[in-house]
């Protein structure tokens, strides 16, 4: 209940907030796809893509730098691409010795690395914007309308609902452990790694049983309200001409980016 930290939605009214969620989901995925299609070192296109994001930020009323400030999530993973710097053949740019090894950064390697990181960083910003301006249940409705199998969307919305209940439960379990993790003055407490792992395993087991039994009660509650195996939902989203227009406009921008990325 208190895990507000999990809600990424930012209240507000703006052109982007009020856009049909289907349009938002489609444009987001198309944007990420377009990034993946752009060749390495398509600087002009990358710049246009960033401009696209800045405009979307501005239109959403969250401030120009909103997604930028939150976009560093994917950066640690960039380590995985760092070997590209050295392993792609090309003209050496710089060399250095580290841990008794010679490293040579090549120009082609540099281009590839920077391109990968930029693509990733742009994609993450777009995804951040999507959840910041669309309530999560609406994203799930949109997925449903976009023919994602119902069973998956339904599991996802249950997950979202009980996420808050169960993470609260975990927080309380962790607190209980902390509260009793005392140490007598001057003594080293804490137990062995094995023991600590077993405590966590017990907590996981506890949590599993409680979740399992809760799912029984939820099932009963559903039965009590007429559930017969097929879940019916009602999503009163109405597609408006404006939604369609903005969606098409965004897709045209993406096509232009692709063209820009392939100019010689």
């Amino acid at each position: 209940m208190h895990s507000d930290a999990f809600d990424r939605y930012h209240h507000g009214h703006s052109l982007i907030h009020d856009l049909d969620p289907r349009v938002k989901v489609v444009v987001t995925v198309a944007f990420i796809l377009s990034n993946a299609l752009l060749p390495d070192a398509a600087w002009l296109a990358f710049l246009l893509a960033w401009a696209f994001i800045l405009i979307a930020n501005a239109l959403s009323g969250l401030g120009l730098g909103f997604t930028f400030r939150r976009s560093f999530i994917a950066l640690p993973f960039a380590l995985a691409a760092i070997t590209a710097l050295f392993s792609i053949p090309g003209a050496p740019v710089m060399s250095f010795r580290f841990l008794m090894q010679d490293f040579t950064i090549t120009d082609a390697g540099l281009l590839r690395f920077v391109s990968i990181v930029i693509r990733s960083w742009l994609s993450v910003q777009m995804a951040i914007l999507l959840v910041a301006v669309t309530e999560f249940p609406k994203i799930v409705h949109a997925l449903n309308h976009l023919r994602v199998p119902t069973i998956l969307t339904v599991i996802i919305s249950f997950l979202y609902r009980y996420l808050f209940v169960l993470t609260d439960e975990v927080m309380r379990l962790l607190r209980a452990r902390e509260a009793r993790s005392a140490g007598a003055a001057g003594k080293r407490g804490g137990g062995s790694v094995m023991w600590r792992a077993r405590v966590v395993g017990n907590m996981a087991g506890q949590l599993f049983l409680r979740s399992y039994e809760r799912s029984d009660r939820v099932y009963n509650a559903m039965l009590a309200r007429g559930y017969k195996g097929e879940l019916m939902t009602i999503h009163p989203h109405r597609f408006q001409a404006g939604d369609l227009l903005i969606g098409l406009l965004a897709l045209v921008c993406l096509v232009l980016m692709q063209v820009a990325g392939r100019l010689p």
Binding site: P39, A197, Q206
Partner: protein, 311 residues
């Protein structure tokens, strides 16, 4: 808030389009099978059970315990989910978890979600369940021990698959990424194994009915044993190959022309100018030893699984 410890979530941009799409295709096929199977076996109860269980996995990933030097052990949960819920249901549950992590928290990308589901949800469930199923009729201690090995291997398999995808996409050099990923996840896997074993022991003690022969846990067929064993052997054989003799694997991929398609346009990987672990002999020896041990364990499991089948 810190909620998802696993370093396996690939963000968008790190896999090439072709690799992303291939992974999506494999994932989609497996998920379609999972949907139809769970529909049959669980019926109308499927929805609340899997929804709440997905929330459970999500929440359980927040549980951690201090190991040493500021690092902590965590749960990924694929193997545990598969052992208690059966493989198909576990796949759906893990898929929902990974989808929410990507959609809500940008932990892992959207276009590469197929790959993330494959690595963290499908492969882990298959290995975890397959190996455990192989000893389903053995003593409690054997089951727990095998569950531990399976949990460890499932994490290693996810890490290996991630590395291979990064390599095929031209994002990383094969040897470096495999060695780095596997050595980190060898440790993470130990945490996974310990927690999985303790959680199973807890369930065996308090609700043995959830794990007995008539439960959802026992609904996967013997085919899973084969799948689990094959995947485990692939991990065990490929890891040393990729970390100690990367040229061989690279050659195969090049000969098949696969690597060029996968990297779609970006220059091919040639030669390795970074001998990060130039002196490969150490890693060869280590890899060889771990490999031999795991082969032994897997062989025993396979033997038991087949024995049960014939008897």
């Amino acid at each position: 808030m810190h909620y998802s410890p696993v370093a396996l979530h690939i963000p968008d941009g790190f896999l090439s389009l072709v690799v992303s799409l291939i992974c999506w295709a494999i994932t989609a096929v497996l998920l379609a099978m999972a949907v139809s199977r769970t529909n049959k076996s669980l019926g109308e109860k499927q929805v609340p059970l899997m929804g709440v269980m997905a929330a459970f996995i999500f929440a359980a990933q927040m549980l951690n315990f201090p190991v040493a030097g500021g690092t902590s052990g965590h749960l990924l949960g694929g193997a545990l989910a598969a052992i208690v819920l059966g493989p198909w249901a576990a796949m759906l549950v893990m898929t929902a978890v990974i989808a929410v992590q990507a959609l809500l928290f940008q932990d892992g990308g959207l276009l590469v979600m197929g790959a993330n589901i494959l690595n963290m949800g499908l492969i882990t469930a298959a290995i975890g369940y397959g190996l455990y199923r192989g000893v389903a009729n053995s003593s409690r201690n054997t089951k727990l021990a095998v569950a531990g090995v399976a949990a460890w291997l499932s994490v290693m398999a996810g890490a290996l698959a991630t590395s291979l995808q990064l390599w095929l996409s031209g994002t990383s050099n094969l040897q470096t990424v495999v060695i780095a990923m596997l050595s980190v996840h060898a440790l993470i896997g130990v945490g996974e194994a310990l927690i999985t074993v303790a959680a199973l022991a807890f369930i065996m003690q308090t609700r043995p009915d959830l794990l007995d022969e008539t439960s959802a846990s026992a609904r996967g067929g013997r085919g899973w044993v084969a799948a689990g064993v094959v995947l485990s052997l692939a991990v065990v054989l490929l890891s040393p190959l990729a970390s100690a003799f990367p040229d061989g694997l690279n050659r195969v991929a090049e000969d098949l022309g696969f690597i060029h398609i996968a990297q779609s346009g970006s220059g091919p990987l040639a030669g390795y100018s970074v001998p990060f672990f130039a002196d490969a002999s150490l890693s060869k020896i280590a890899a060889g030893m771990i490999g031999a041990l795991v082969v032994l364990a897997v062989a025993i499991i396979a033997g038991r699984g087949l024995q049960k089948k014939t008897s």
